[in-house]
Structure formats: C-alpha cells, structure tokens
C-alpha cells in the first residue's frame, strides 16, 4: 500500500514534467518554424495567386524540410519516436491558421480563400513513416526527401485547383487566383515583386509542375542531410562549457 502510494506520486510528478516538456517543445517549434517559414517562403503561403505551378512547388518544400529533419534527428535517435516531421508541420499549420483567421481575415478582411496556408501534414506523415520503416536517416533523406518534394503539390492540389481555373477578365485570360489578386490590393507587395510563373521553365508548358517537383525533390534531399546533422549534433547537443573559475588548474595554465 505504502509503495503503491509512492509509486503513484512518482508517476504523477513524472507525467507533469512530460506535459511541460511536450507543451514547451511544441510552442518553441511553432515559434522557430513559423518565423523561418514566413520569411523564406511566406509570400507563397499568404496568397492563393502566389501558389503557382512553377516556384511554389520548389520554394516551399525545400525551405520547410529543415525543421522536420532536425526534430526527427532528436526524436528518433533519442526516443525512437517517428513523429518529428508531423509535429513540426502541425505546429506550423497552427501558427499560420491563428494569424490567417484572426488577422488576415478578421482584422484586414482578406477573404480566407485568398489567404489560406499550404499544408505539409501529408508529406510529413510520409517522411516520418519512411524513417520509421527504414530506421535509417540516409535512406530517409534519399527516399523521404524525394517523396517530400514530389508529394507537396499533389497533396495541396485539392485546395488550389478551383483557383487555377481560367477566366476571361477585361479581355485577358487570367486564373481565378489572379482575378482575386487583382481585386484585393496588397499595398506592400506590388505586382512587380510577385514571383509567379517567371523564367524559361514556362517553356515546358504543361510539364512545368513535374519539372519543378523533380527539382524540389532533389534539393529537399540535399537540405535534409545538413539539417539532420544540425539537429543531432548542434540543436540536440547536451554540451556544457565550463566557466573559467571552475576549470581545472591544467586548463587554466594551458
């Protein structure tokens, strides 16, 4: 009886620490991942007309495989938990929706179907599954990284397809997304800054998305490796540096 009471107390205390660790980690990942994402790929995330078939499938995946790789490195190698990528992307989606709903829509009245964010959840689940099945981060980089780049556009297609329908507007052929952009002025992102459908890749015509995804998958593989290593050996490091006063005499003399 006495032991079971002590045991229950110990478990209660341990569970409380578990909750704090999980909650604080989730919040920190939202903070870091979201500020990273919005400033390296954010414009494509903010606006539906930026969600094009050319640059969006390249920029978004290669910049957002970063945090998932780093978190996988710690959660898998230390805890055998294959949820690192999904956890990151869930946090990112939460951070994005909080602002899109409350501010973009609630404050400045952009319609939600103009400012909804992309999702990486399906690609993240696949990345986690590849790591879980192979147990090998190199294979995950090669296979999971490729799938990460390839899956991004198809898994978001359901949301953006209606906005890519062609319409004729004042004698010009435009997409529905372009017309929405035309109607809702973005004061600080004028048209000359819009990085959409530019470059000679357009010469691939209907094949442009496949080429973009192919390239994106390649760079995603390349990005995964340094970020895994940074997660494992830098951000997940348990290194301490001793202060001068606590260093040994030999070290001080050296």
């Amino acid at each position: 009886m006495q032991y079971s009471q002590v045991d229950a107390e110990a478990k209660a205390v341990a569970r409380k620490f578990d909750v704090v660790v999980l909650l604080s980690t989730f919040l920190a990942l939202i903070a870091g991942f979201h500020v990273h994402q919005m400033l390296v790929a954010g414009d494509w995330s903010f606006w539906v007309d930026w969600k094009d078939r050319n640059w969006w499938p390249i920029v978004a995946p290669i910049m957002e495989i970063t945090f998932p790789a780093a978190v996988q490195a710690v959660l898998w190698t230390r805890f055998r938990m294959p949820i690192g990528a999904t956890l990151c992307c869930l946090g990112l989606l939460f951070g994005e929706w909080m602002n899109r709903y409350i501010n973009f829509n609630g404050w400045t009245h952009y319609p939600l179907n103009f400012v909804f964010p992309e999702t990486f959840i399906p690609a993240a689940v696949v990345l986690d599954i590849v790591l879980m099945l192979t147990g090998n981060w190199i294979v995950t980089a090669l296979v999971g990284g490729e799938l990460w780049g390839w899956l991004f556009y198809p898994t978001n297609w359901v949301m953006i397809a209606p906005f890519h329908l062609p319409v004729e507007y004042q004698g010009s052929l435009m997409s529905v997304a372009d017309v929405i952009n035309y109607m809702y002025v973005r004061t600080s992102t004028p048209e000359y800054l819009r990085i959409v459908e530019t470059g000679t890749m357009r010469s691939f015509a209907g094949g442009v998305t496949g080429v973009a995804a192919f390239f994106s998958a390649f760079v995603s593989v390349c990005m995964y490796v340094p970020w895994w290593l940074m997660g494992a050996h830098f951000f997940g490091s348990t290194k301490f540096f001793k202060t001068y006063e606590s260093a040994s005499t030999e070290v001080k003399h050296a």
Binding site: F17, V35, H36, M98, I195, T238
Partner: protein, 279 residues
C-alpha cells in the same frame, strides 16, 4: 563515465502541491489576456490613429505607448534578473533532492512561459505584421504593428527567456558552474531577433520599402529563429537529471550529489535515461 553514487535510505518527498501549475497558469493567462487586449487596442487605434506619423494623435496613441513599454520592459527585466541574481543560492552543493526537484519544476514552468511568449512574438505578432504591411503604406519604422511586435512582444519573451536561464544558473547545480550550449542558444538566439530589428529597419528605410516577406533583408530573423530548436538539447540535459531525482526520491535509487553535478554537469545527462523515459 565514473560516478560516485550514494544510496539514500530515507529521502524526504516533496508534497504534490509543490508541483502546481498555478504560477505558469497565472503568467501565461496574464500574457494571453494582455495579448488579446493589445489586439483590441490595435484594432481600435491602428487604422484610426496610426496612419500619420506626424500627427498629434500618433504621438498620443502610439509613440507614448512605445516609450512607456520600453521603460516598463527595461524596469521589469532589471528587476526580475536582478532579483534572481541577488537571491541566488550560494550553497548549491548542499541542495536536498526534494528541493532540487521542486526547482526543476519551477524552471520547467519558467521555460513553458517563455515558449508561449516566444510563440506570441515570433509566430503570431510577426505574421500579423505582414497583415498590417499589406494594408497600409510604410511611413515610419515605428508603425503601430511594430510598436507591438518589435518593441513589445519580442522584449517580453526575452525577459522570460533570460529570466529562466538566470534562474537555472543561480538555483540548479547542473547549470551553476558551466554554460549549457543548447540553453544559451535557446535563449540567446531568439533574443538576437530583437537587435536584428535594427538591420531590418535600416534596410527598409534605406533601400527596400516593400514588404516582400522572403526578401534577404529578413533572413537575419530566420537564422536567429532556428535557435528555438535548441529546446530539444535543453530538455535532453534536464530530463535525465529530473528522472534521476524522481528515482532517488521515490524509489531510493542512487544518484549523483549536487557537488558532483556541479563539477561535471555533462555526467548528469545520461542518454540512456531518455530511452528509459520513452519506455
């Protein structure tokens, strides 16, 4: 790694009430209420009083708020960090296990409050700044959204982050005689986002008036934001010691003394403890 182990026969257990959520609940609750009120203030006065930097209304509603918050933040930071330092434990090598575990709980609540504040600053208010810039023309670096984002939400998380680090260094043997690499990154790197505002504002003033969010001018924020990942290493340092304390206090298992942890804090971060914890 060589360790001197001591076996306790009867270890005092802290009362369960010592592991209350109350202080974090009050702190985070207060921050949430404050953030909501700030949002309401912004909705009331940003578009009505905050579009002309040269107007008297701007001075009243926004510049006075800026000066007031900067003064309050400096006073709060000085008071909190100073109090933590002045009341530091000077006999950490004699810290009892029960007291050490209670202090780790206090640190954990400090950290979770910091991460909420970091979320509010780096995620919510930073993207809200994008919302604002898409709606108005940039006429001043001290535009209403910046008064809240840069000069309010960022200093708030810095105060909590540095405060938690000072708490750990002044009250826990593990952090008393050595600098924790991940913990310093966790606090220091996001803190550098605030000084980086100087670069951002100079750049926007000198050569880049638009708000293309992916512009290289913004990448300093990105790099410093990566430091949030160091929460992984920070918990990897803390959790094994917490687990050892729980095992010692409740199950009588041997543990390193505080003096040994102070001498070699690395030895208290047994990676195997993580696996045991997960199991």
């Amino acid at each position: 790694m060589a360790q001197t182990q001591t076996t306790a026969t009867a270890v005092a257990r802290p009362p369960l009430t010592a592991f209350s959520w109350k202080s974090a609940g009050i702190a985070i609750g207060a921050l949430i209420v404050f953030d909501v009120l700030i949002n309401v203030y912004e909705r009331l006065f940003a578009l009505t009083k905050g579009l002309d930097y040269t107007s008297a209304d701007y001075e009243t509603y926004w510049m006075s708020m800026l000066f007031a918050e900067l003064v309050m933040e400096a006073i709060t930071a000085g008071a909190l960090w100073g109090w933590l330092w002045m009341t530091r434990d000077r006999a950490l090598d004699r810290l009892s296990p029960a007291e050490e575990l209670k202090r780790y709980w206090a640190l954990a609540l400090f950290v979770v409050t910091y991460t909420y504040a970091a979320y509010a600053g780096a995620s919510y208010f930073t993207e809200q700044d994008g919302t604002w810039h898409q709606t108005v023309i940039r006429d001043t670096d001290f535009t209403p959204s910046h008064v809240i984002e840069f000069y309010q939400s960022y200093p708030i998380y810095i105060i909590f982050g540095v405060g938690s680090l000072v708490y750990a260094m002044t009250r826990l043997p593990q952090f008393a005689k050595a600098f924790s690499l991940p913990y310093v990154i966790l606090v220091g790197s996001p803190a550098m986002i605030f000084p980086n505002v100087g670069l951002n504002e100079f750049g926007h003033t000198r050569w880049f008036m638009e708000e293309l969010f992916v512009a290289p001018l913004h990448w300093g924020f990105v790099t410093f934001g990566w430091g949030a990942l160091a929460i992984l290493g920070t918990w990897l340092q803390i959790c094994p010691r917490v687990l050892a304390l729980i095992n010692h206090i409740y199950y009588g298992k041997p543990i390193q003394s505080p003096a040994e942890v102070m001498k070699d804090p690395q030895s208290s971060c047994d990676p195997a403890a993580c696996v045991a914890c997960a199991m």
